[in-house]
């Protein structure tokens, strides 16, 4: 499925892309994963902090947080292409990089599985790897089909799910609507019990108890075992999820990134949600 914005991005990148770039700086985990998936890993010279999770990028120079990039830092890596996700900024910094004569391609974010194909197409066009792009899309489509099969069993009575995000200070906040987590809960065949608010919010013990989640999803990076985790969230212990210790841990870069690994990460969650 192609959106107008994506078509425009593809057209623009097709017009401006040189032959295959030799030195690429990427920012945004999904963008980096796609570039890597296109076989361009060796051409990546630097990545942002969120892209350090791949084997290929672990030792590359770090250009910092995706929203706080510095023009000169990126240019010091002598890239001929800068590929960033939609949240990258601040915007004037991207302008500065363009002003220095380096191609900057922004891959729009989209919190839907359909967007993954659009992202791959845009990046493949920008890097002159259209064929590899179609191959990657085929792989992703297969993963999406597998996910559909896994969630089919949950149609009807969807399990009630809460996604907890760890913020600085160790506070755990629940994902409401308009979050990547909400989209992924739904895509994995669950029902987000926190659909009454938007964004990530701290929840009171009473609301938690009343929401009666069956499952808790957290990032694998959150420390402590399941019992400790449940103890940190007031009210969670009294819910079905708390009583039966039903905690699903996810690799959030994959699960929330809307990159090539997202459908298979969602499939794992969908399978976990089928456990009684």
């Amino acid at each position: 499925m192609l959106r107008p914005a994506t078509i425009l991005a593809v057209l623009l990148t097709a017009l401006t892309a040189r032959a295959e770039p030799a030195r690429i700086v990427t920012a945004g985990a999904a963008v980096t994963e796609i570039v890597s998936g296109l076989g361009l890993g060796p051409q990546i010279v630097a990545v942002d902090t969120s892209s350090k999770h791949l084997e290929e990028t672990r030792d590359k120079p770090d250009v910092g947080y995706v929203r706080m990039l510095g023009a000169e830092g990126i240019l010091s890596q002598k890239p001929d292409l800068v590929l960033v996700s939609g949240e990258a900024g601040p915007p004037p910094v991207l302008e500065q990089i363009k002003a220095a004569g380096v191609d900057v391609v922004v891959i729009p974010n989209g919190y839907s599985l359909d967007n993954i194909d659009d992202k791959i197409r845009a990046i493949a066009a920008a890097t002159d790897r259209v064929e590899d792009g179609e191959k990657l899309i085929t792989r992703v489509e297969a993963d999406v089909q597998a996910l559909r099969a896994a969630t089919a069993a949950n149609e009807g009575e969807r399990p009630r799910v809460v996604f907890l995000l760890a913020r600085h200070g160790g506070n755990l906040m629940a994902a409401g609507t308009e979050t990547a987590a909400h989209a992924m809960i739904e895509a994995s065949g669950g029902r987000n019990v926190c659909a009454s608010f938007t964004g990530y919010q701290p929840l009171s013990a009473e609301i938690f108890a009343a929401a009666t989640p069956d499952f808790v999803i957290v990032s694998q990076s959150v420390g402590g075992d399941d019992t400790e985790l449940l103890a940190r969230v007031p009210g969670l212990g009294t819910t079905p999820a708390g009583r039966q210790l039903r905690v699903i841990r996810v690799d959030d870069a994959a699960f929330l990134g809307f990159g090539p690994r997202t459908p298979s990460a969602a499939t794992e969650v969908a399978l976990a949600l089928r456990q009684p």
């Binding site: 250009v63 910092g64 929203r67 706080m68 510095g70 000169e72 915007p91 220095a100």
Partner: protein
């Protein structure tokens, strides 16, 4: 925090000497900051950039003229503006803990910016809506405060400070509301904006800020003697011929212009507005014709150095400049405070 003078008839000429020293140091700091960065340029190439640009690779020329130089200059202007505003507000309130933030302009600017992020408007008007919103927010706060700039029979300045405290608290609540209700994306943008950064520097912003610095600086300079007289107390200053209410208005307008413009382009940057004027007082004494230029030079150098750290220490990544202002300025300030007798109270 009294900068007292030795009983030494040469102290004032010594202060002038120190001001000239700061003025001589300033271009050196600018030069060093222009030569250093993630992309290696060096002093020799710095000269070639001007004298023989053909010898320099195009990418380095672009980095220098489009990125580094505007950024170094923006940092200097932001630092100068914050320090100047601080010197004016501290002189006006005769309070060493007075901060330009006290008149509500920083919180108002932050609210303007946060509202912009909240509705996802930060990219509108070619990216100029964000600084505009911050500037307007700062101004609205100061206009509200202006209602309390009345005569002094009822304890004018004290009332103004209290009104500023209340205004800051109210703006803080509004800010908290927006932070709380913001989407995750907007929240992250807000957080990074409030940490402050000179990374967005472009030439038009440098030009606009220079204009504001000139206007604000002129307003403060023409009130320098009145600020001196205000140190005797507002009533006594009025007897000496100071139009206290007018001077108060002009100082607050100047501080709002300076802090509003600086915050609009670089986010909220603390420490400099509070501490750079004190450094100037410790080094140069209390006369505002020395304190104001001293604060300009010290504030500019502090922020240029802090920004140099922000863009080089973790290169190619960026650090938040707000973290570094205190790291770089703090030890120097403590050393000034600790210096033996000749400058201590």
């Amino acid at each position: 925090m009294n900068a007292a003078w030795e009983d030494d008839s040469r102290c004032r000429s010594r202060a002038h000497g120190r001001l000239w020293l700061l003025a001589a140091l300033f271009p050196l700091v600018l030069l060093a900051a222009s030569a250093l960065g993630a992309v290696n340029i060096g002093l020799a190439d710095l000269w070639n950039l001007v004298a023989a640009p053909a010898r320099i690779p195009e990418i380095v020329r672009a980095v220098f003229w489009e990125i580094r130089l505007p950024r170094v200059l923006l940092a200097a202007l932001v630092g100068a503006a914050l320090a100047l505003a601080g010197a004016g507000v501290q002189g006006l309130f005769r309070n060493p803990l007075a901060d330009p933030a006290l008149i509500g302009v920083s919180a108002g600017a932050a609210l303007g910016a946060v509202v912009c992020f909240f509705f996802g408007w930060e990219g509108l008007l070619g990216g100029w809506l964000l600084p505009l919103a911050a500037f307007v927010g700062g101004w609205l706060a100061v206009l509200i405060l202006g209602i309390f700039n009345t005569g002094f029979a009822a304890g004018g300045t004290a009332k103004l400070i209290l009104a500023g405290v209340a205004l800051n608290a109210m703006l803080g609540s509004a800010l908290g509301f927006f932070l709380f209700s913001a989407s995750d994306d907007a929240l992250r943008s807000m957080t990074f904006w409030t940490l402050g950064s000179c990374a967005s520097a472009r030439w038009p912003q440098v030009a606009v800020l220079l204009l504001f610095l000139a206007i604000g600086g002129m307003l403060l300079w023409r009130n320098a003697r009145s600020l001196d007289a205000l140190q005797f107390g507002e009533e006594q200053a009025a007897h000496l011929g100071v139009s206290v209410v007018r001077v108060r208005r002009e100082i607050i307008v100047a501080a709002a212009l300076l802090v509003g413009a600086a915050t609009a382009f670089a986010g909220t940057i603390g420490f400099i507005g509070l501490v750079a004027p004190h450094m100037a007082r410790l080094l140069l004494g209390g006369l505002h014709r020395l304190v104001l230029p001293g604060a300009v030079l010290l504030g500019a150098m502090l922020l240029v150095l802090a920004d140099l750290g922000a863009r080089t220490l973790a290169a190619p990544a960026e650090l938040a400049v707000g973290i570094l202002t205190a790291v770089i300025g703090g030890p120097f300030f403590l050393w000034l405070l600790r210096r033996p007798s000749s400058w201590s109270a």
